[in-house]
């Protein structure tokens, strides 16, 4: 098959990718590829809201301070300032593009309190904000007629002379391996929550873009920082929005106590997510849990408020936990939720590899540092999706269309053929469960040296076995057994990077908590972790954190 050719290829059609696509000048030939249809992207699962200092009494500086503090001073303050300053414009832009935000009495965009924030600055569309943003964004993409290759799976980057000249992808419905050349490639492939067994993330969140870029030589930054959301359902990890606590929901233990008073006497349930998750896990470990969970109590909000502000939450609780929050508290526990780390990128999306850009959860700019505030991830997709699109639009000027060799495609075709041809072996799902269970246990809310060292061994072992896994499906058309096998290779690779970072970082900061190093060590660890690929496992180096106006302080809520 001949090589496809576009000025820009955006990999991933969630919020960040689509937002980037909308920034290009009309003459630029932009194409998106996504392994799922754009509205199936996981951006749509975001519930609670998106932050912006819209109100006169609030300011972007306050937002920036909350974000820096939330990041446990690991976020780059220059990038955070940009995000918080530009947030109001990006929110209003989305409003003009058709997002149906909930409104206040002044007919303006309503805002609710969220964890770790000093002001109610989270804009929302009931409790399906991500869904509202995602569908509105796709409406703009349809209006503009952006070409989307739906259900195409990224296999590799085309790297020649140290620069990115396109991608090789699998057209899932036909089974064809196709080369696509481009003058620039933007990654917007989302997070890696599915490295863990229990996660709020969709099954597609396997960090494919990160893994493929890492393999091609792009460094991954701060991967050890994985956010555990305090309120996910026990049965399947389905998310219960922080908005439920923002609206006044409380957390109680088996004794009926609001235990957050011990851990965060001021912010209580609205402390930062890492703080609340650790508090819950401590309660559970010390025997004050209820069947491995704590309870999220919404009853006092009353039927009317629950139905107006949290209708989806009620529906999810009824369907997946068998409890109606109007009548009884919902059992919840911490679950892997968000990847603070990702492909190292600057605030224009540029990665260290020429021709390669990244935005959204797959990137690490870093605005979230060691812990992301609720409502800042949707914001990141909007601000940095837009900035990356605009920057790449200019970057294209004078940059010729490359003519990469066909060998990249041939190589991938051969790789897939070998995977499918293998007549027997271990099944990928079993390996994935083994890896995920270990990650939950050893690389979860609490970590220590012994557990992490064991994790290194298990992950290396699973990675090795994953290379020989058995793809049962021998068909060409819509072979999801094959794509799942590829995803397994991605999550094992990323798991090794997470573990390496967590083992090296001998301190506790944000979402990374070491039982053997319980305090933050600014002298030694106020720096980013960079992971580079190496046959013997990830090689680590470090990068400084950018400071502007906020001096590191002890972090209490």
């Amino acid at each position: 098959m001949s090589m496809l050719s576009h000025d820009v290829i955006i990999v991933g059609a969630g919020l960040a990718g689509m937002r980037a696509a909308l920034e290009f000048a009309p003459g630029v030939d932009v194409a998106m590829i996504s392994k799922v249809h754009p509205v199936r992207s996981h951006s749509g699962a975001a519930q609670g809201g998106v932050n912006a200092a819209l109100h006169e009494d609030d300011s972007w500086e306050n937002h920036a301070y909350d974000t820096v503090k939330g990041s446990d001073y690991l976020g780059d303050q220059d990038a955070i300032e940009i995000m918080c300053r530009e947030a109001p414009s990006d929110i209003r832009q989305m409003e003009h593009w058709g997002v149906i935000f909930s409104r206040n009495d002044e007919e303006r965009i309503a805002q609710r309190p969220f964890g770790g924030a000093g002001y109610p600055r989270t804009c929302y569309a009931a409790d399906r904000t991500g869904h509202a943003l995602l569908h509105a964004m796709y409406e703009r993409v349809m209006r503009r007629g952006v070409k989307v290759y739906e259900e195409w799976f990224l296999l590799s980057l085309i790297m020649e002379d140290g620069e990115c000249r396109g991608i090789v992808a699998l057209d899932i419905p036909t089974g064809q391996v196709v080369s696509m050349r481009a003058r620039a490639v933007v990654m917007a492939t989302g997070g890696y929550g599915r490295v863990y067994r229990t996660s709020s993330n969709g099954l597609v969140n396997t960090g494919d873009g990160m893994a493929v870029c890492y393999e091609a030589g792009a460094p991954l930054m701060d991967m050890e920082f994985v956010q555990f959301h305090p309120t996910t359902l026990k049965s399947n990890g389905v998310l219960i929005t922080e908005g439920s606590r923002g609206e006044g929901g409380t957390l109680i233990n088996a004794l009926g106590e609001r235990f957050m008073k011990t851990y965060a006497p001021n912010a209580m349930e609205l402390a930062s997510r890492d703080v609340v998750s650790r508090a819950e896990q401590t309660e559970i470990l010390e025997g004050r849990g209820v069947d491995g969970c704590v309870l999220l109590d919404l009853r006092h909000l009353g039927r009317e408020k629950i139905l107006e502000r949290l209708p989806q939450i009620r529906e999810l609780a009824i369907k997946f936990a068998g409890t109606d929050p109007i009548e009884v508290p919902i059992p919840v526990r911490p679950g892997a939720h968000y990847s603070m780390g990702g492909i190292k990128a600057d605030f224009n999306g540029a990665t260290p590899l020429p021709g390669l850009f990244a935005a959204g959860e797959c990137s690490c700019v870093s605005v979230h540092g060691a812990n992301r505030l609720g409502g800042n991830s949707l914001l990141e997709t909007l601000v940095f999706g837009r900035r990356t699109g605009a920057f790449v639009n200019d970057y294209l000027v004078g940059r010729p269309m490359p003519s990469p060799a066909d060998t990249h495609r041939v190589e991938q075709e051969k790789r897939l053929a070998e995977m499918v041809a293998r007549p027997a072996g271990e099944r990928g799902w079993a390996l994935r469960e083994e890896l995920g269970t270990m990650m939950n246990r050893n690389v979860g809310v609490f970590r220590d040296r012994a557990g992490l060292e064991a994790a290194v061994t298990v992950a290396a072992n699973v990675a090795e076995r994953a290379r020989r896994q058995w793809v049962m499906d021998k068909g060409k058309i819509f072979n999801t057994d094959l794509t799942e096998a590829l995803e397994l290779q991605h999550v094992t690779e990323l798991a090794r990077v997470i573990i390496a970072g967590a083992l090296a970082r001998e301190e506790s900061r944000g979402a990374h908590f070491r039982k053997d190093f319980t305090t933050r060590d600014d002298a030694k660890w106020m720096r980013h972790t960079l992971a580079h690929p190496d046959p013997d496992g990830p090689k680590l180096s470090h990068a400084p954190v950018a400071f502007t106006r906020f001096e590191p302080k002890e972090r209490t809520y």
Partner: protein, 332 residues
């Protein structure tokens, strides 16, 4: 518990016709249909093909027919299905060609969605420039008017359940029309007239038979059929009264106003006029009805309380309107 699941499998691209295949798997008591399919794929046959992602009824990937009913696999409990139907039989969504097993081609569905121009359209001068200083003012009540339709996750269950889509390939279907109403109801949209005009023709809102299947199938309570009814009302209000559908409504109302009750005998003549050629197609039906003694006579006296009926109609007349007010913070 150990359960049996029957899955309809096919791969037209490789010449494999549809057939049912049974699997037995062990699943927890509260397993969903999606959990069960994943157990089959993992433990029994890796080639069983279906789409899935979020597991929480928000991404819309895993819609399929479960014991004949279109819906999401991730929010359907196996236990309930077995209790109601005594079996678990899974098929791909209807009215769309199958790619493989439970994965159908999505292009036909999305082509219909694109046909309603599904985006907020505003004049160029209303497009904000960067930085965007103001949002549009809109009361919460206006947002709520769009609440049902904006919940749609485009899972295609309603399209699969639609009885018109089954016989009329032109019909845009419940999801696309619900989406159209979402923009008609949007105070920010300036394309309403054009949208209503486009959808007034064949394949549009008049082609729904109001069978309610879409409402029943929808996992997100979007109530597409209600949106279609709203579209019809907006169309008549906007002056699109030439279609049979709108004539049926307006003539129905005018007869009730005159006589205090529906006069079925008068409806065909009222709608089509006293044109014998136009009435010709109705005659065989009229003949059959007459032979069974069911042909209503077109002549009646108004019912005794007709003035009260008229009063009720006058009071009820106004439906919801766009409640948008241009506030001081608005863009030009």
């Amino acid at each position: 518990m150990r359960i049996e699941i029957e899955i309809e499998r096919s791969c037209p691209g490789e010449g494999q016709a549809a057939r049912f295949q049974s699997f037995h798997v062990e699943v927890p008591r509260h397993a969903t249909v999606l959990d069960t399919l994943m157990a089959v794929k993992n433990q029994e046959d890796g080639s069983v093909t279906f789409r899935r992602s979020c597991r929480s009824a928000i991404c819309g990937s895993c819609a399929m027919r479960i014991n004949g009913r279109s819906g999401l696999a991730c929010d359907t409990q196996v236990e309930g299905e077995l209790r109601r139907h005594g079996k678990l039989r899974i098929q791909p969504l209807a009215h769309m060609p199958v790619v493989r097993d439970l994965a159908v081609e999505i292009d036909p569905f999305w082509a219909r969605v694109r046909a309603v121009q599904p985006w907020v359209e505003r004049p160029r001068e209303a497009e904000p420039s960067w930085p965007v200083e103001q949002e549009t003012r809109m009361p919460q009540s206006a947002a709520e008017e769009m609440d049902d339709t904006s919940k749609c996750i485009m899972c295609m269950s309603c399209f699969s359940a639609c009885e018109v889509a089954e016989v009329d390939t032109r019909f845009l279907g419940p999801a696309a029309l619900a989406k159209a109403y979402r923009f008609v109801a949007d105070p920010r949209d300036t394309n309403t007239q054009n949208r209503l005009a486009t959808l007034n023709g064949g394949g549009g809102y008049w082609d729904c038979t109001r069978c309610n299947q879409c409402v029943e199938a929808c996992p997100k309570d979007v109530k597409p059929m209600e949106a279609i009814v709203h579209l019809r009302r907006e169309a008549i209000r906007a002056g699109f009264t030439g279609t049979i559908g709108s004539r049926h409504i307006t003539d129905f109302l005018s007869i009730v106003r005159q006589e205090g009750r529906l006069n079925e005998g008068r409806m065909p003549m009222q709608m089509k006029g006293f044109n014998p050629f136009k009435l010709l197609p109705v005659l065989p039906l009229a003949w059959r009805m007459w032979r069974k003694g069911k042909l209503p006579l077109p002549w009646h006296w108004p019912i005794p309380g007709v003035s009260q009926v008229r009063r009720i109609m006058d009071r009820k007349g106004g439906a919801r309107r766009k409640s948008f007010v241009v506030g001081k913070g608005d863009l030009k």
